[in-house]
């Protein structure tokens, strides 16, 4: 509200300036200085007061942990379950976030809630908001963080408390339904593997994953340039996902982020299961 108010007020003000309505008295200088000073102070007092509110969370806020990494958001609820790039919260309950980053600086921004805070590696920063209206809201990363900065977003779902409970129990029940591989496929999309390895693993900026299992892969070890060959067994794939930097596939840049802290062992198993189906010769159009 305040923003719009200032916006309109000053844009009109500038038009007034252009029409040149001032007189020529020298005392005016003092008047201008005094006048603008007062305006400054008024703006300052208002905005600073709001600023403090913006960061000072109420005592009953629920704690959500946020980890940012190139290029995804990883959130964990007080109840313990995790989400990627999505956050479900019940309407009306204030939420405070404790945030950190695994690599570079990101910034957690929900335009609809007017909140933003940079997320720093090696430090915790915090933010809070009180969702007041049910709906789906954008979540953006607003600190430039590399190639996929513009895709590092997601949604905040504000739900009726009842719906939220449903969602929660659904989440708990999940994992029962669906095969390992299809769950893996979901993870594959969710973690943006597709961004580099192609929608169906056909490759892109990262190598193709089709037919990977048990293939011989030319790699260079960390810190050397010599190319050696390793067999791509499950352990290799696991390591490639957790610590991609240790063995780099020859001819590719070491740009793949580590998923060490974002995939549990269960996730890993599912994703490997999915990659296996790729090797079973799923036909991929070029």
């Amino acid at each position: 509200g305040q923003v719009i108010y200032f916006g309109i007020k000053y844009r009109q003000g500038s038009k007034a300036d252009r029409s040149g309505r001032k007189s020529t008295s020298h005392k005016l200088e003092t008047f201008w200085i005094g006048g603008t000073f007062v305006l400054c102070v008024v703006m300052y007092v208002f905005s600073t007061a709001v600023y403090f509110q913006l960061y000072n969370p109420p005592a009953n806020a629920a704690q959500v942990y946020v980890v940012g990494k190139q290029w995804m958001w990883y959130l964990q609820h007080p109840e313990g379950h995790r989400e990627t790039n999505e956050l479900h919260v019940p309407v009306g309950r204030p939420v405070k976030l404790k945030m950190t980053s695994q690599d570079v600086i990101h910034s957690f921004y929900v335009p609809a809630f007017r909140v933003k805070q940079d997320v720093l590696p090696g430090r915790y920063t915090s933010l809070w908001f009180r969702p007041t209206k049910v709906g789906k809201y954008h979540l953006f990363c607003t600190e430039y963080c590399g190639a996929e900065h513009s895709l590092m977003g997601g949604s905040i779902y504000v739900m009726e408390p009842a719906d939220y409970e449903d969602w929660l129990s659904g989440k708990r029940a999940q994992g029962a339904g669906g095969t390992m591989a299809s769950a893996g496929e979901q993870l594959y999309q969710q973690h943006h593997c597709a961004g580099c390895h192609g929608e169906q693993g056909q490759g892109g900026r990262g190598p193709s994953l089709v037919g990977l299992l048990n293939k011989d892969v030319p790699v260079t070890q960390k810190g050397s340039t010599a190319v050696s060959t390793v067999k791509a067994d499950e352990n290799y794939i696991r390591q490639s996902i957790l610590e991609p930097q240790t063995q780099i596939v020859a001819g590719y840049d070491p740009i793949m982020p580590s998923y060490k802290d974002r995939m549990g062992e269960d996730d890993l198993l599912q994703i490997i299961a999915y990659i296996k189906t790729l090797s079973k010769g799923k036909e991929v159009k070029p």
């Binding site: 969370p57 805070q117 720093l120 915790y124 920063t125 915090s126």
Partner: protein, 101 residues
Amino acid sequence: MTHENHHVSLRGYLITFGALVGLLGLAILVAYLPLGRFHLTATLIVATIKAVIIMAIFMHLRFSNRLTIAFASGAFLWLGILITLTLSDYLSRGLLAIPGK
């Protein structure tokens, strides 16, 4: 800066040098005193005195016009701005009970 030369006598220079050496000794002495956190202040004060002496006498600032003096002190003033305002961030972090603020 007018064109007359302001000679400092040889003796003057030597005395200055002696003073500088004395201050150096003082600085080292201070470093051995158990001052705890005040070491920084103490040694910096000594260093500043030394710098001022060098500038005033060796660099003839004492005989220069006010313009040159303004440039010399301006530079240090700006350095002060840089350090003070930057530190204002670090030293006031964590004063509030809000993480990261």
